[in-house]
Structures are given as structure tokens and as C-alpha cells.
């Protein structure tokens, strides 16, 4: 059992008041308490950006990697010990700029990792530049004339690339976000949760107000197992049309796979005499 106090570290959050990261942090801890994630069964990995600070505020064994490289580290951890719940915290700059290649390959491999994408649609820690998820036309310090490039759509990219659980959540709705994190972790395969996380300091377009006014939850009539329909739904984004929920979910081949740990067996010296003979 995990209590809220078990997760407390001596560090206090350094995010701006109102930052969506605070909600993601809260939701994750609530999910951890509900599900009993702790230092015996869970590992966290983060990249670099505002999101990455979260590792200092949750007392679960973790690895803060390099900018863009959280996914390969997480893949290595999962290979070594499949029994661990492995969460990857990443930002939109981290995951789709430096880490773009790793993202599509992680999707294609469909390992059992839970990717929590802190999506504020710009670079915040470096004080506000466009990210690969910034909308076209967005004015930032690096695009004072307006962003000239198209953004990636993280949901369609994930679905197309082979991820088997693709969802979107809004950081402002903590109870729903908590549920979503739990759902994503239960899925055996790569889960991507695009968490809309307004940057209150630098992003004046995709704000809490915008998301509150324009988002809605996918209803019971929505079928997340239909891939083409999921792609179509994932393309929807705009006024009164920011869908939240599970867009796509499919039972992967990892569903029934036994979870083992390579590291259960100690590293042993091998006498390779038999193999050596092949070289004579």
C-alpha cells in the first residue's frame, strides 16, 4: 500500500502557480496511492524540460535522462525488468523535437511503457520558444512573426506508428486524469496519454480557459477499437471540438505475455568451450 506521505520528497515543486504540471503531479500521486505503485514495483523516467522536475517531487526510484532520450532509457529498463511499471514523463519539445525518432520507434515496438506527454505546445523551461507541437502561427520568442511550421499531431502519429493505447487528457480535470493514468498503465503495450497542460506563463493561446471552453469527453458510443475512426477523431481539434478520452486501444500481442525479469538471474560467468570449438 502506498500513502500520499510515502511519495513526499524534501523538494517543493518549482513550477509556476497555475501550471498544468502541478495537476499532472497530483493526479499521478493519486493514481500511485490507488494502485500501490512504490519503490518495489515502479520506475519513473523523464526527459528534460519543465516536466522533468517531477522526479524530484515523487519518491519513487527514477531516472532523469537527457533531453529527448527518456524513451530509450525506459525501453532498456523494461527489457531488464518487465515486472516494473515503467512511466515515461516527457514534454512536447522533449518527445517530438530531440526525441521524435525514439517516439515513433517506441510506438512501433509497443513495449509496455506508459508515456505521459506533458503537452503545453511550446518550450517553457528555455523561456518560451515554438515546439514541434506549437500551432501554426503561434507567436513565441523564436517565432515573433508567428510559427511558420505545421505541428505534429501526437495522437495520429502514435496510432500510425503502432502504439496500442492512445488517449488525450486535460490536466485541469484531475479526477479524470488520475483514472486515465491508471487505465494507461493497465494496458499491456505502449500507452500514450497526450495531457493538455497549459503553460500559464508563455502560452496565451492554448490556455486553461481555451480547453475548459472547447474540450469534451468521448462518449460511450465511441468505439476506440476502430483504427480508422480513431484516426479521424484524432484529427479533430478546434472550437468546441477538442475531444478527450481513449481514441484508440487494441489488445496487443503482449497481452498474455509472461512478465519476467532478466535481472532475477544474477550475471553469471559462462564457460563457452562448446562455442569456442566452432572456431577451430
Amino acid at each position: 500500500m502506498t500513502n500520499m506521505t510515502d511519495l513526499k520528497t524534501p523538494c517543493s515543486p518549482t513550477w509556476c502557480p497555475g501550471c498544468g504540471n502541478l495537476n499532472i503531479w497530483g493526479a499521478f500521486k493519486q493514481a500511485a496511492v490507488k494502485e500501490g505503485w512504490d519503490n518495489t514495483n515502479t520506475a519513473l523516467v523523464a526527459g528534460i524540460g519543465c516536466h522533468g522536475h517531477i522526479l524530484n517531487f515523487v519518491k519513487i526510484t527514477s531516472f532523469e535522462g537527457l533531453h529527448g532520450r527518456a524513451l530509450p532509457v525506459a525501453t532498456g529498463i523494461k527489457h531488464a525488468n518487465e515486472r516494473l511499471n515503467v512511466f515515461v514523463f516527457t514534454g512536447d519539445g522533449d518527445c517530438f523535437g530531440e526525441g521524435g525518432n525514439h517516439f515513433i520507434h517506441a510506438c512501433r515496438r509497443d513495449h509496455d511503457l506508459t508515456v505521459l506527454l506533458h503537452d503545453n505546445s511550446l518550450y517553457a523551461l528555455t523561456t518560451g520558444q515554438t515546439s514541434p507541437l506549437s500551432p501554426k502561427g503561434l507567436k513565441t520568442k523564436s517565432s515573433p512573426q508567428g510559427n511558420s511550421d505545421q505541428p505534429f499531431n501526437p495522437l495520429t502519429l502514435a496510432i500510425i506508428s503502432g502504439a496500442t493505447f492512445v488517449a488525450r487528457a486535460y490536466a485541469g480535470d484531475m479526477p479524470k486524469l488520475t483514472e486515465m493514468i491508471i487505465e494507461a498503465n493497465k494496458h499491456k503495450g505502449l500507452s500514450v496519454v497526450d495531457i493538455l497542460q497549459p503553460c500559464v506563463t508563455f502560452n496565451k493561446v492554448l490556455t486553461h480557459d481555451f480547453y475548459r471552453a472547447n474540450s469534451y469527453y468521448l462518449g460511450d458510443d465511441y468505439d476506440p477499437t476502430n483504427k480508422s475512426a480513431a484516426l479521424e477523431k484524432a484529427l479533430e481539434f478546434g472550437e468546441k471540438s477538442v475531444p478527450l478520452g481513449i481514441f484508440y486501444k487494441s489488445g496487443g500481442e503482449r497481452e498474455d505475455k509472461e512478465q519476467t525479469a532478466l535481472v532475477d538471474k544474477p550475471a553469471l560467468k559462462y564457460d563457452l568451450s562448446d562455442l569456442f570449438k566452432k572456431f577451430t
Binding site: 523538494c11 515502479t42 526510484t61 531488464a80
Partner: protein
Amino acid sequence: MKKEKPTTITSVKIGGQAGQGIKSMGLMLAKHAVRSGYCIYDQIEYPSLIRGGHNVMQVSFSSEEVLAPQKLTDLLIALNQETIDLHGSTLKKTGAIIFNSDNTADTSKVDKNILLCGIPLSSIAKEAGGDELFINIGAVGAAIALLGGNLATLQELIKEEFKDKTEEIIASNLHAAENGYEHITKSYKNAVNNLLKPIETVNSFIPRMVISGNEAVALGAISAGMQFASIYPMSPVSNIMHVLAANQDKYSYVFKQAEDELSAINMAIGASFAGARSLTSTSGGGFCLMTEGYGLAGITETPVVVIEGMRGGPATGLPTWSEQGDLQFVLHAHQGDFPRIVLAAGDAKEAFELTMEAFNLADKYQTPIVLLIDKNICENDQSYQMFEVVTYKVDRGKFIDEPSEDYKRYKFEKDGISLRSVPGAGNFFLANSDEHDEYGYSTEEIEMRNKMHEKRMQKLVTCEKEDMAEPEIFGPEEADITIVSWGSNKGSILQAIKNYKNVNYLHVTWMNPFPTEAVKKVLSSAKHVIDVECNYTAQFANLIREKTGIEITDKLLKYDGRQIFPEEVEEKIKKALKGDK
């Protein structure tokens, strides 16, 4: 061809188009020699192509150890005209050529003393029921016959080589080989020599292994209990990956092909963080990408073994040729300071042993270990007595996988090494790429930064004291000339100094930490020092100067992608003995 003295090295060169099976022919010849009781060294040269380019493999054998390729050839097996044109001039006056007499061959430029053995290889191949590809096996049969080798050994090797093929294919190959063999014993009876005649004691010993550095690294890693490897393909180290991929089920480790070298090293770091002995391998270009993860492993104190097989640079450079141009790069790669432990092997056996040691060093010092090899080591084969692992012990260092009271992952210790734990063990810690405190929490506080930085760097001091190996001196203690070098030059230098009683060789395998005192002692008392290395800027001599203050002015530098031949070392020795540089 004749044996001048029992220890004479015989050199056979096999040339043809890429795709004609040059490598497998050469390997068959090499294995034939070891099974007949000889030692071998073979060298393959090929362009970065799959088909169509010129491939050549040289197999040298002798009753004593052969340590390097030879400049001159005793027997040239020419599967095409190009081989005669390119390599005919390397033949000794006593040499011979085996060529396909079914094609018109121009041997007008070949020295008139050279024995021309035209064999109807295409007809032999056809008669054996095979296509033109079978000409290589007929040629091997002819070569073995000419060298006085044992046909039964060749038949045995063919059966092994094609054991997964149909009976028909095996029979055709045997037939072609036998026909090639017979053709020599009938038509060139008087030319047959005894260079490959099985040595008398052949039945009483186990044949030597014929092994390349790549294979040695892979076998070393498996022997050392490696649990995870993530690699992106790159010449000249791809064969490490092939051997690891093929054996993973049997030896319970996981091999994963990564999407790029950034991912390869980060996956290895992730697996190691979770407790698995991990390895990645690449060449210089791939290490450029790994540079980022190199320092990440340094600051997070995550053990990882990185094999760096050097080839000609920069950029794509000379993909299938050798160079030793990455030494200073690897010694300084990544921003800032962290304990970089860098080793360099001089041959396949050293590569095997240092790979195993690298895993223990990585675990003990909780830092990345780079093992440098070069293309010549990676891909050339040498024969060795069966490798031994008896004395090796897996040492995971300070490691705990059960809960520990008030656990501090980066606890300050005198030797710089803290108790390592893994996720899932119940011990909280944060492996942090930011500077951090003893638990791993990010900090920018002055005193903590200094203490943590000093703790990490202290590991080099400990390593120098407890593990760093002294360089080895080959040859006489007192000498007129002392050669100092590293990497694959070792073989050519040792081969060359066999002929000199007044020349010795200082072979260095630890690049960082560096055996400063030992090197200083040898070089400062040497009468004349020659630095030998394969790069333009004398990177190793620069390292020696940096560490010892000794400047070496006489150097043999080569950067054309080709191996340094023993003859070139000898030439340098002769010049130095005469007093010119």
C-alpha cells in the same frame, strides 16, 4: 614456393569479386591450416559494397605464431583477372598463381619465374553439378593440393560449412574440391610442396581457434555474464552484433537492435540502471552520437561497456578500412569532466580479455568503460589456443538489491564509489542527469556540487591504484630502439622485432587512467624511441607527451586505411639504426 626454415611464414592471397565467396574460402583455408597444426593470421580487404567490388583475403600460416599480414605472397588464387593485375606484383619470385584456365588470363605482367597453374575451374564447377559460384571451392582444392595439404581435412571442412544445405550441394562442393585437388596432383605433380603438410604431432593437440576481434568481443561479453546489449549496425563492428544476436536464447541475455546510436547507448544505460550488465558497440561515427549518453552514464554513475571499433574518418570516411584516429576523441568526448575509463586492445585475445574486464570495471566504478579496437582487430582472424575463463570472476561491485535503511545512492565514500541499487529493490533514489545530492535530488548548491563532482572524479584515482594495468614490454630489457604503440600495430611490431635483438616494444592498453610512471620510466631511459600509429596527428604520442612530458620525435604514422606491415616497421628500425629519421 619452398620453406626456407621451419618457421617461415607462408602467405596465400585469394582475390575475386565481392560475392564470389572470398571470405569463406579464406576461412576454410585458415581452418585447414590450424587443423593441420599451424598458426594463422588472416586479413580481409574489401570496399563498402555487397557485390561487384574487389575483395581480397590473405591467409598467412606458419608453425610459429603469425601476428600480422605479410607484404609478399607465396600463392595467389586469382578468381578473376583483376586479382592478377592488382596482386601479381606482390608474389615472391618463388611464388605461384592458381587461375581459371577456362577464361583467357593475361599473365604477361607477372614475373617469369612465377609458376602459373591454370586450372579449368569453370569446367570443374560444371562437372560437379554446380554453377560458376563453385569455382571458388575448386580453387581451394587446387591450392591445398599445391601446398601439400590433406584432402580429408578439406572434405571435413566442406561438410561442416554446408551442413545446413542439401546433400546434393554438399556432394557438388566435395566433388569440385576433389577435382581441383586432383588436377594439381596430376598436372602439376612436380610443383607440389609441403608447406601445408600436417605437422607430425597434429593428432595429439586441440586445434587453435581462428577468431576475429569482433567475435572475441562478443564471446568475451557472453562469458562475462552480459545481460543486455543494444546496438545499431555499423562497419566494422557489425559482427559483434551478429554473434550476440545468434546466441541470445542460449545464454539468457537480450540483444536489441536500436533505431540509432543515441538510442543504443540510452537503452543500455536504462537496462543497466535496472541492474543488467549492459553493452553497446559502434564505430567512430556512431560514437559521435553516443557521446551524449557517454556523459549521462558518467553523471548518473551507471555502468555501461562501449566497444568502439575505429575505421578511417572523418564522417563516412573509409567505412571498411582501418585507422586509429579516435583516441583523443574518445578520451575527451562529452562536455565537462567525469571519470572516463578508456582501454585499447592490441589483438583479438586482448579484446576478449579486456571486454570481460570492462564489465567488472564498469560495475566496480559505476561509470562507462570504452574499449577501443580498430578495423584490423575487428575483422582479421588470428589463431589462438582456446581462450581461458577459469580465473575470471564476475564482480558486480558495491551492489544491493534489497531494502537498505536511509539508502543514499550517491553517498560520499573515500574511494568515490557508493552502494548501487536498482528500481524495484525498495530503495528510493533518483539517477539524475542534473547535478544532484546523495539521494539524487537536483541541486545547484556550491558545496554539494563540489563534493559530488570530486566524489565521481575520485573513482579514477581509485582505479589507477587498484586496477590499472602496467604496459607490457616485449623484447629485451635493454635496447637500442624502443618502439611504443597501441592497438593492432602490436602484431606487426612484434613480427618485425623478432629479427632484431636490440629492439623492444612498449605496448599500452590503458589510455585513461594512464600508466604515466611506467611509461615515463621506460621512455626516459630508452636510447631511441619510435612512436608507431595509424593516424595523422600522432594522437598517442600526444597523449604520452601530455602525461609524461616526453616528446617523441621519431614517428611512423600511416593513415591510408591500410594496416602497418611488419616490413614497414623494419624499414623504420633500419633507418633509425643508421641514424636517419
